[in-house]
Amino acid sequence: MFAWINSSIVSIIIFLPLIVAVLALFSPSVRLSKWIALGGSLVTFIASLHIWFHFDAKSSALQFVEVYDWLPSMGIKYLVGVDGLNLLLVMLTSFLTPCVLVSLWESKVTYIKPFLSLLLVLETGMIGALVAFDLVFFYVFWEVMLIPMYFIIGIWGGSNKIYATTKFVLYTVFGSLLMLVAAIVLYLVHYEEHGFYSTSLLDLYKITQMGLSTQSYLFLAFSLAFAIKVPLWPFHTWLPHAHTEAPTSGSVILAGILLKMGTYGFLRFALPLFPDALVRYSPLLMTLGIVGIVYGALMAWMQKDAKRLVAYSSVSHLGFVVIGSVVILNGKLSEEALTGALYQMINHGISTGALFFLVGMIYERRHTRILSEFGGISAVMPWFAVCLMVATLGSVGLPGTGGFVGEFLILLGVFKFSPLAGILASTGVVLGAIYMLNLCLSILFGPLDKEENKKLTDMTFLEKTYMVPLSVLVILMGVFPNFFLDKTRASLHHLAEHVSEYRLMVSHHDSEPVHEVAGASDTKNK
Amino acid sequence: MPIEYYFSLALVMFLCGVCGVLFRRNILFVLMSIELMLNAVNLVFVSGSTFLKNLDGQIMVFFVITVAACEAAVGLAMVIALFRRYGTIKSEFFRILRG
């Protein structure tokens, strides 16, 4: 029994939400569908906890691997597994979804059942994309992620939701199509070199003879798709629209996890597959990242709408992550920057997720997001004030919160790469303080003069159930980062050291011996 | 009786049917020409079946006739409806499907 669970745990966490989504959609009463949805997502979370505890931190190999031949003739396999890189993100996804579902508990939004099932389908898409090690499956889940989001924004969104959601989808689809073309070229290059067709990532990593020009085209195609998702500077215009129009839970998931898909994509696909192109384009990406940071911060400072402000702050924070992941010195990625990038992804997920929840709360109570409407509500809503303060400090990157650890490591790595870039990026830290505190100032502090603000009620018990863990997590991640980083250290070290000839092994520590994965030797790495 | 004769007869009928469809302004005539074309096909079927000494051809004719019946019935019903709606069944007047 134990072996069976271990061997198919990853598939469970992928498809369980899907099944629950269907059940929730067709359940007789709304209450029942809410319980089913929440139950399903909690079970998924527990399953991911199981993975967390059984994850062997010392090996950088792929664990909990499941391989089933899907289209042997085309060489497409259902290959899923967990390693240091995607473990934390999977945990984040499975943690955020129950919170979102709880937040929807009392919401009087129309068509609640389809909304819940769409969220669960979204979860399936995200986890699937994270753990898929086969280009085709990754692409499939990449698109599966997109569709529910389209509906969530399109149906339950704000005023001009149609414009926002079409723009969001068009942007992402355009990017992913380019990625598909690049994937196919890669597939063919692999065939020429190795003689057999395979789309599994383990084999694609083994491609050596790829001309620099092809490599750079492919790298550009892949990174464009991910850059749009991240959103890197020039491709970011969809994000503010998508966020202002998306409902609270939609924008939490969008900011919490969907944006990380882009950066994760860089780490998983763009960097290891095309190391030489990375060396060539890393300065370009670095400058775009830094521009993104400064530009995002300045934009955030200008915003009158709370959600738009937080959206632009995401642009700035993810700019950090991008520059962190493209620091490359004589063929080696700097491990500190990489750890920082991965850690910053998680922090951003938690703190921005919390911020969006909070903005959602005051939106539900006051039906407006314009900052000038608020003032001094910390007298009326103490709990809200504390949570908002903690979330703000988390996103500003005050030492003692997760933000600082992430940003410090990134800036450290970038500084070793080029001091100028380091200094410019660090200005982001200062600007960050300005606009985030500006947010706090206009919402929490100042005289409580408006009538509506006086009648505001504090956070209900339900809201506390998911806000308190988030705030505690922000602090915990600042004080005990090693608890999280230990699990990822081996994989990150492996990626950083041998990025140019990156080989990913498959480990069989407790799952029953996985039959020979075509091409991938099964020796356990150090 | 060489089969070419039957086929050429069928061809002539079919040709008349096509010209009828193309050039007659009146929907009724178009329907009649279609009937003509179908009969040309029937002729080919029958002569083919007798030539090949296999009765399938005749059965096909049976089906073709049924389909022709349906087509005629619905066609005529539409002609009536069109006439009631537009007062005429000259084909120039039905241009609502303009692109």
Partner: protein
């Protein structure tokens, strides 16, 4: 083991007050005082253990904080003589201020939140002081900034307080930006951030390679920017005067005794870097001197009692930075110690006055409080005498030491000494002015407040008396050697710190003058000159302001109107910053948002969309709708196809 207690007590106090929010004021007050007091009691034995001759510092590791690649930072704490002294200051004066704060915050409904912030501040300050590597110090550094932000903006219902809080945090953040760059540079050059390792590396250096010196200078300057941010030196001092918006105990604790001294502590902790970067030190010295002089001049004309004290703090900090700048780190720390005592006393005294006058801070409405608040007046008098450097009190010894060390600095030493001297004269003038305007002359406050004037409760004046006692006798710890023989005592303080602060061998050549022996006559003459000048300006001020703002003073003000207005408006520095930095930044981002975001990117996409629409219009023109046209085309097409196939 004791060190964990020292750290844990304030944290526990903060958490208890913060989370449980006890309703009862006395309960929350006692929790807070216990938090700090117990930590002070735990710190005493630690300090005593360090008094012994050979006692070197000890490093304790709590847990490994961040491990990534070859970077391995642990939560390690060092307890040596330097951090011991700072420990005493922080916890000692901290607990006194906590006691006082109980009384001060009496009218507030609930003080739990206030006290939790105070305890949290103490904890952060301890982290800063005890941290063994730059990152732990940085945690404390930003933590303290956060607490000052929270405490300044404690009465957030009043908008300017919140804005002042944010201003403080942002300016501190700019300073921290410099500090961060310094950290990165050290890590890039030395691969480690822990002080002990850095010390060994630098001590091991025989000769100074040019690359090393330039690197060290860069690190020195960046760290100094951090120090400026935190210790309110010239470019980044603007937040301190506004920080007076917070309750007075906060100003006393944070903006007089502890937080602002963090910069000086950091520089003393990293003295081995600065000794090897003489040019960086030169910059530090001049900035210190300039700030001392600049702030003192502004303080001359301020009417708000706390603003005067704020500017005096800035100028005294200037003195300490000046001391560090001339390589006299021990003198800087000694002045830090004495300043902490009498400045805290001044603030708390002012606090009692404000409480008595029901939160009015403008000196024009005070006067003649001598008979209403006798104890406060007595204690206040002692503090004033100490700060102006009246011989025999603590201020005299520490300030003189700095002036002497500045003078003895080869080359530009005398310029610094002049700045320091003039700043001392100004200090004497505005302190006596403050004393007269508040305590002597007729009482100018309105009928209602005068009726309620009464002495503060014992909770408030008891710590004042202790502080007064301290500010009188603490001075004798660091009697300059030439006086020591006269009174056959000995300078206890600097040898005490010398074990920690030594010039690394590579810098021996440059800093050799530190050990030169100077003729005693020179020292005597200098001390005499500075004391005379200070007392002269004090009596001059006393004569002017003896019985409040007289008409004579009024004409003098009109005569020097332009000078008066510039000083009063703080040389318009705030407006200058706003015009140079804040507004252009705002306009640029507005421009960016308007043009780039909406204009270029969105615009580009919309144009793409419209062009597609136009194209589709073009291709749909020949759908005429006539059945026959379709039929003909259909059949012609079919025939063409068949012919094609057959032919």
């Amino acid at each position: 083991m004791l060190i964990w207690l020292v750290l844990l007590f304030p944290l526990v106090g903060a958490v208890w007050n913060g989370l449980l929010l006890p309703r009862h004021k006395l309960l929350s007050h006692s929790i807070a005082v216990a938090g700090v007091g117990l930590s002070f009691l735990a710190a005493l034995p630690l300090f005593v253990s360090l008094l012994g001759e050979g006692a070197a510092g000890s490093v304790h590791l709590a847990f490994s904080w961040i491990q990534a690649g070859d970077l391995d930072i642990g939560m390690e704490f060092v307890v040596d003589r330097l951090s011991g002294v700072m420990l005493l200051i922080v916890t000692g004066i901290g607990s006194l201020i906590h006691i006082y704060a109980g009384g001060y915050m009496n009218e507030e409904k609930t003080t739990a939140r206030f006290f939790s912030y105070l305890n949290l501040f103490i904890f952060m300050m301890l982290l800063l002081v005890l941290g063994n590597n730059m990152l732990v110090m940085f945690i404390g550094w930003e933590g303290v900034g956060l607490c000052s932000y929270l405490l300044i903006g404690y009465w957030y219902t009043h908008k300017p307080n919140a804005v002042a809080g944010m201003k403080a945090f942002v300016v501190n953040r700019i300073g921290d930006f410099g500090f961060l760059i310094g950290i990165f540079l050290t890590y890039k050059m030395f691969g480690t951030l822990s002080f002990s390792q850095l010390h060994e590396v630098l001590a091991g250096q025989e000769s100074l390679s040019p690359a090393l010196t330039s690197g060290l200078t860069a690190i020195g300057i960046c760290l100094f920017i951090g120090a400026c941010g935190k210790s309110a030196q010239l470019p980044l001092y603007v937040w301190l005067p506004d920080a007076m918006a917070g309750p007075t105990p906060v100003s006393a604790l944070i903006h007089a005794a502890t937080m602002v001294t963090a910069g000086i502590y950091m520089m003393t902790r990293l003295h081995f870097i600065y000794y090897l970067a003489p040019s960086a030190l030169m910059l530090v010295a001049f900035v210190g001197g300039a700030t001392a002089l600049f702030a003192a001049t502004i303080a001359l004309v301020q009417n708000d009692i706390k603003k005067v004290l704020a500017y005096s703090t800035v100028s005294q900090l200037g003195y300490m930075v000046l001391a560090c700048g001339v390589g006299a780190f021990d003198a800087g720390v000694f002045h830090l110690l004495t300043h902490a005592c009498f400045k805290a006393l001044l603030f708390l005294g002012a606090g009692s006055v404000i409480v008595a006058l029901h939160h009015k801070q403008d000196m024009q409405e005070m006067g003649g409080l001598k008979k209403y608040l006798p104890i406060t007046h007595a204690v206040f008098l002692v503090a004033v005498l100490a700060i102006i450097g009246f011989p025999g009190l603590s201020g005299f010894f520490s300030k003189d030491e700095i002036l002497w060390r500045a003078f003895s600095f080869p080359g530009v030493g005398w310029v610094l000494w002049l700045m320091g001297l003039f700043a001392a004269m100004c200090t004497a003038f505005y302190m006596v002015r403050l004393l007269c305007l508040t305590f002597y002359g007729k009482n100018r406050s309105d009928e209602h407040t005068r009726h309620h004037l009464h002495e503060t409760s014992s909770v408030m004046w008891a710590p004042l008396v202790v502080l007064a006692f301290l500010s009188i006798f603490i001075g004798y710890l660091g009697i300059p050697p030439f006086l020591a023989e006269a009174f056959h005592g000995s300078n206890l303080f600097s040898p005490f710190l010398s074990s920690v602060i030594q010039v690394p061998p590579a810098g021996e050549v440059y800093w050799s003058f530190l050990h030169e022996h100077h003729s005693e006559a020179l020292e005597w003459s200098l001390m005499g000159a500075s004391t005379l000048l200070a007392l002269g300006s004090a009596s001059f001020a006393f004569i002017l302001y003896r019985n409040g703002p007289t008409p004579f003073l009024q004409e003098r003000k009109e005569a020097f109107a332009s000078v008066y207005r510039t000083l009063y408006n703080k040389y318009w520095v705030d407006e200058l910053y706003d015009r140079i930095i804040v507004r252009p930044l705002k306009e640029m981002s507005e421009f960016l948002w308007r043009v780039v975001d909406l204009g270029i990117i969105n615009g580009g996409l919309n144009v793409l969309g419209q062009s597609l629409m136009f194209l589709s219009g073009v291709t749909s023109f020949q759908m005429t709708g006539s059945l026959h046209r379709y039929a003909v085309v259909f059949i012609l097409g079919l025939m063409g196809l068949v012919v094609l196939v057959i032919v």
